[in-house]
């Protein structure tokens, strides 16, 4: 028995060492989310979906809002599938926010999709998609390396961690949580991506998504929670006018509802939709880096005006 156990233990040790090596080299290229779960708890957060994840650059906010301060912003926005308002995201935000923070700044982005659900019953919170994904599964959001995340939620073969490690990739998640996306920005490429996105939203999203009272309640709950820890700013990010039209069809009374919440909770609200045409998008839905920087600067300036 003893030689058997020694041999097996030695073998397992080698395999475990190889696994740990791969887990330790996982970084911002590994996927679009991992690094956000490896940093310590944060003081000021950017909340939302992929529009915020790609569009809002913490570095810009730091340079303007925290120019004379040791604090930093952290982009804790993910995707429409994984971080719409709901219990899973609410709890994750609670875990990510440093304890005892009272003077944080929280930029909460909102759009009709993040208040809707594609479940048959939009209020069937048990079956919300994010519960089954990494948002619902990742209970430890401040570990480095975050082995529970890599084991339970890493959505690709682990060989990709090695493959992407030393090579350049389209997606780069920065340590401050900003997701940098590098795609060709020539007109035909942009037009093709825009058309695909419009088709996707019109054909696949619009017929299946419906306003969810549960999500709307969690939206308010998230705002109230963050208010206990500092100042909250509500933002609707710019998108391509064609996608904006689809959003209006999904939720015609969006502005009415959000304005009411903002007024009730005394939260400043900035709606970029009148400036949709001012910016460059990679696919109509996500701001291009330079436009993201502009929007971040605009929001930062607006925050300075509403201390």
């Amino acid at each position: 028995m003893k030689p058997f156990l020694i041999k097996v233990s030695f073998f397992l040790l080698l395999v475990t060492a190889a696994m740990l090596f791969v887990f330790f080299i996982a970084d911002g290229k590994s996927d679009a989310y991992y690094l956000r779960f490896t940093t310590p708890q944060q003081h000021s957060l950017i909340i939302g979906t992929s529009r915020a994840a790609q569009g809002l650059q913490p570095e810009v906010f730091d340079s303007i809002v925290y120019a004379h301060n040791e604090h930093h912003f952290f982009n804790y926005a993910f995707t429409i599938t994984d971080s719409p308002f709901g219990e899973a995201y609410y709890e994750s935000i609670q875990h990510k926010l440093a304890e005892g923070v009272r003077d944080g700044i929280f930029i909460v982005t909102v759009d009709p999709w993040s208040l809707s659900s594609n479940t048959t019953d939009p209020n069937d919170s048990v079956n919300f998609h994010e519960n089954k994904g990494f948002m619902g599964k990742t209970k430890y959001v401040n570990l480095n390396p975050n082995i529970p995340y890599l084991v339970q939620s890493y959505g690709e073969p682990y060989v990709n961690i090695i493959r992407k490690w030393k090579s350049s990739t389209d997606l780069l998640l920065h340590k401050d949580g900003w997701l940098q996306v590098d795609v060709p920005m020539d007109s035909p490429s942009v037009a093709k991506r825009l058309q695909n996105k419009i088709n996707d939203y019109r054909m696949n999203f619009l017929p299946n998504f419906h306003f969810s009272t549960v999500r709307f309640n969690y939206f308010q709950k998230t705002l109230s929670y963050l208010q206990q820890h500092g100042k909250v700013y509500l933002v609707r990010l710019p998108i391509h006018p064609e996608i904006s039209k689809i959003e209006d069809e999904l939720m015609p009374d969006f502005e009415e509802k959000v304005n009411a919440v903002a007024a009730t909770l005394h939260i400043p609200y900035l709606d970029f939709r009148t400036m949709d045409n001012h910016y460059q998008y990679v696919d109509g839905n996500h701001l291009y880096q330079s436009s993201g920087k502009e929007v971040s600067e605009t929001i930062a300036g607006w925050i300075k005006m509403h201390p």
């Binding site: 028995m1 030689p3 058997f4 041999k7 097996v8 073998f11 080698l14 395999v15 190889a18 696994m19 791969v22 084991v151 959505g155 690709e156 073969p157 682990y158 060989v159 990709n160 090695i162």
Partner: protein, 520 residues
């Protein structure tokens, strides 16, 4: 429309009473998320059981069996604790009727207890597995006759492993009834025979004549056997995680969007599924057998390199052996076996394959799959050549002869064709799929580009499939492919091979998929 949802049978059955045959609620809980053989849960469970079994029991047989029984019930409860009651009831029923049959003073008494057990066992299987199928088929038939039905149908959860443990129990009572074995009077031993966790949820379907003596015999740790068990587990994990799970992603993409793919891509999809189901089920069986060997048990072999078969008869002697032999012993032979006229043999063969198809699931696709296999095997039944390929193909040689190679390819092609019906969601889907294959684009190159996503690249998978088939071919004369591979090499080199396979499993794992046979 009134909808009434309620729990019956002490709350372990989720019934949805629905009018108009439209199920509204989902099953109370989907089984199969907690104790997969390739899960972290099982990776913790197995070493704990192993260490307790060999160290804490101090070699005492009774303690070992109690521990294994408790571990098995825990293992099953992890799937769905409510169905544990059903498993215990089924165990108790067969244990009790077995003793009653054994002690019955006359044939009439034996027959009574025998039929009681058979009817209750099959009754449970019928309710849990086939009720909806019969109800919907009846409604469809009436609708075709112009009669609209509006009766209530039940949505019943299929308890994991029910087909397997029911067949365990049935073989036991049939063997007692036929006087092959005596009834087991030790409930713990009998219970362990039914619920032994490596085989509980997806077989192999054991026989009392084979497993019960092992349960009653003292077991001592055998390092060679345990090492062999680990090797088999390693190969099983490779088959499941690298081959089956990766093939599943592409097979799912192609089968779920069959309309978007042309002929050759659809053929590729069917081949992916053929590899998926083989990797999945034989991988599961390897892990089950390997786990049992760690605990000192030898389970029945379930697969013997079926894709190297030279005809369909040989394929069925090598695929899901424990089920095929079960049907042979308890259905085919009682129907007359091969000692009857050709016409009766043909009838019996069709019966066996249709029942086998139906055993797999309550869907017409499985029945057609069974029917196709019966058709494919017919020439060898009619011309009495079904036992012409009993030996291992190209034994002792590196390559098969041209004739053998062509036979293998033809048999594989027929099998792949039948798998289309097994995989498709409905008969309509399977027929559309077949129609799509024979389109004008059959001879175009498959659309590999459409398959590329975040998972392993198809070309990487092709390399693994080739590696897999080479290792299987080299190991075809043994119990499993890796059993003797590299035994003539220096030990460090052989262990490097095992380490490399373990790395492949870790690095190239496909998206986790539930074992296909858990649904049966």
């Amino acid at each position: 429309m009134p909808q009434i949802c309620r729990y019956l049978f002490f709350g372990y059955l989720s019934f949805t009473f629905v009018t108009g045959r439209q199920a509204i609620t989902k099953p109370y809980r989907q089984p199969g998320h907690t104790m997969l053989f390739n899960s972290l849960g099982f990776a913790l469970f197995l070493p704990i059981v192993f260490l307790l079994y060999w160290f804490a029991t101090k070699g005492k047989l009774k303690t070992q069996n109690i521990l294994l029984m408790a571990a098995s019930y825990y293992f099953y409860a992890c799937w769905d604790y409510r169905f544990l009651f059903l498993l215990i009831f089924s165990t108790f029923l067969d244990y009790f009727t077995g003793i009653k049959m054994n002690d019955a003073p006359d044939k009439k008494g034996r027959r009574f207890w025998f039929w009681l057990s058979v009817i209750v066992n099959l009754g449970f299987l019928g309710v849990f597995k086939y009720f909806n199928f019969f109800a919907s088929s009846l409604a469809d038939a009436l609708a075709m006759a112009g009669i609209k039905t509006n009766f209530w149908s039940l949505q019943v959860i299929l308890p994991v492993g029910i087909s397997f443990y029911t067949f365990h129990g049935l073989s036991y009572v049939i063997d007692i009834y036929n006087g092959k074995i005596k009834a087991e009077r030790n409930f713990i031993d009998y219970s362990l025979f039914v619920s032994f966790f490596p085989l509980l949820v997806a077989g192999p379907i054991e026989r009392a004549t084979h497993l019960l003596p092992q349960i009653k015999k003292e077991r001592h740790f055998d390092a060679r056997m345990a090492t062999d068990g680990l090797r088999q587990i390693l190969w099983g994990l490779f088959k499941k995680i690298v081959i089956a799970d990766n093939c599943a992603e592409y097979a799912n993409t192609i089968f779920n969007h069959a309309g978007n793919f042309h002929g050759s891509s659809l053929v590729l999809g069917a081949v992916f599924f053929a590899f998926q189901i083989y990797g999945d089920f034989s991988g599961y069986s390897d892990i089950a057998l390997g786990t049992a060997r760690l605990l000192g048990f030898d389970l029945l072999r379930n697969f013997a390199f079926p894709y190297f078969s030279r005809d369909i008869a040989e394929f069925w002697r090598r695929w899901h052996i424990s089920l095929s032999s079960w049907f042979r012993d308890y259905l085919y032979i009682p129907l007359g076996g091969s000692k009857v006229s050709t016409a009766v043999k043909v009838r019996n063969t069709f019966i066996i394959f249709l029942v086998s198809g139906f055993w797999h699931g309550a869907n017409w696709t499985f029945i057609v799959w069974g029917f196709l296999n019966a058709l494919f095997i017919m020439p060898s039944i009619i011309f009495n050549t079904n036992r012409s390929n009993l030996d291992i193909v190209a034994r002792g040689k590196l390559f098969p002869s041209a004739k053998e190679f062509i036979s293998i390819i033809i048999t594989f092609g027929l099998t792949v064709f039948a798998w289309i019906f097994f995989r498709a969601k409905s008969l309509h889907d399977s027929l559309s799929y077949v129609k799509g294959i024979f389109s004008s684009a059959l001879f175009k190159a498959p659309d590999i580009k459409a398959l590329v996503g975040s998972q392993n690249h198809p070309y990487i998978l092709f390399v693994f499939m080739a590696f897999f088939m080479i290792v299987e071919w080299l190991g075809r004369e043994h119990q499993y492919a890796l059993a003797a591979l590299g035994f003539k090499w220096p030990e460090p080199v052989r262990w490097t091979l095992y380490f490399t396979i373990a790395l492949f499993i870790f690095l190239f794992a496909g998206k986790e998929q539930q074992f296909i046979y858990f649904q049966f």
